[in-house]
Amino acid sequence: MSEPAERETIVIIDDDYAIRLSCKKILSKMGFRAETFEDGAQGLEGVARLKPGLAVVDLKMPGISGMEVIARVHEMDPEIVVVVITGYPTIDTAVAAMKCGAYDFLPKPFSPDELRLIVNRGLERRRLAIESRRAEVERALLKRRFVTFVSHQLQTPLVAIHQYLSVLKNLEHTEDAAAKRQQWFDRCLARTGEMQTIIKDWLTLARIEGDTLSRQRVKVDLKRIVADILATYEEMAGQNSVSLEARMPEDACCVRGDRNCLSVLFDNLIVNAIKYNKPGGKITVSGEAREGEIEISVIDTGVGIPERYRQLLFDEFFRVEDEGNKKTAGTGLGLAISKKIVSEMGGSIAVESEVDVGSTFRVRLLAYRAQAGEEDNNRSPDELTSEKDTDRGR
């Protein structure tokens, strides 16, 4: 007979044979591995050996008391959920057991349903506790990495600026320095700009993570946002010899969300499409509304992303580095920010890419739905281009 690989173990410690037998029967039927012990000493030995997820402990036993068993179980592993069985279901014993770290108590006599309910609830709590602890550890690791990387990212331009200034100072009287002064000042300015971008991105990310980013939920027309961003980058695209095109549907592409966040999102994707493009390349932003969703694709004809990097693409600080992109400026935070924004709005972002052919970033967001009583279809395009356009129905 095949069994689930990770069958949860439950330990029952009770001096009452009938209770041990019935608990074991009920819990085994639920698919758990149930092991019973008749006193505290054996029970603790069993807990140490079996590492259960949950322990059912009788409070009133000869030998080691139930209270002490609870304490000792938690000394071994604080995440083992303890449910106590008590023949004296008074508030006092219940409170005492809770104080000792019990999760809940079952007053004798109890029905199989009561046992099932309490065990399931206890294990669910354990699962949540373990998950949240794991998330905490991950967050701590990320934070540590984050600090190291950001420090280095800030330090790199700062060091370059410092070095230029110190050399300028030391070379004051040479002709060479005079000739280079202007050029180096420009470089210093460019590098301070780089630092400002890093700090800006860093703050955006911190705001998203700290949930303090403005969480406005208004009706936003992505058609309008995309048009605005494309207009902003017309010049940059020209300098990079790439062309920009919007291929948006006739109708508005409205979602409910935060206008600034959505701008940041598409700004990041479009800037990337320009930066990682090739001279003569093209960027198409296309939109499609279907089945309650708006899908916006940012398609470039650029250098593409090797498959091995695609999974890491949305990680903080990850940047595709290869021969072609040596000088691409960036903080490595753009896509991490984009992904967080999309997730926050309940959407998704995906990438398809072919090296040397180009990449497509597809963002899917829930389409805006009028609130009850609102009629929001068939609006004329004129109305929808209004920047102040909010939840107004017609």
Binding site: Q155, V159, Q163, S166, V167, N170, D176, R191
Partner: protein
């Protein structure tokens, strides 16, 4: 007769940093060659046979400089070339748990970035002499 000018190879992925340092050293009459990543540095070292190498650590890879130093030390004709390691991320090498004399890192001097140019130039002079050997 004057012997040929002393040559220094700078390996640093930050173009601005390399530019600033090389300008200073050129003003001291050294000939400077620049590489912006480890592999290119290795290639130039073999081709140009510099008298001294200035090496950054964190480039595309976090430890690219270390591995480039190791590789240089494995190359017979470059074994003896002094290597000065410059880094901003590590203010001291013991961060890696590598004793400086273990031979693993095998650099000759360590400077933390930003680097004090006159101090660097002085160490270079002590090691390989003036830029253009005077007649």
């Amino acid at each position: 007769m004057s012997s040929p000018a002393k040559k220094i190879l700078i390996v640093d992925d930050d173009h601005d940093f390399a530019e600033a340092v090389s300008s200073y050293l050129e003003a001291q009459d050294y000939v400077v060659v620049k590489a912006h990543e480890g592999r290119e540095g290795l290639r130039l070292a073999k081709m140009e046979r510099p008298d001294l190498i200035i090496m950054d650590i964190v480039m595309n890879e976090r430890t690219e400089g270390f591995f480039t130093v190791q590789e240089l030390r494995r190359t017979a004709e470059l074994k003896a070339v002094p290597i000065f390691v410059l880094s901003s991320l590590y203010s001291k090498i013991t961060d890696f748990g590598v004793p400086p004399d273990s031979g693993w890192l095998a650099h000759d001097e360590f400077f933390s970035k930003p680097v004090d140019m006159p101090a660097l130039a002085e160490k270079i002079r002590q090691r390989i002499g003036e830029g253009e050997a005077k007649a």
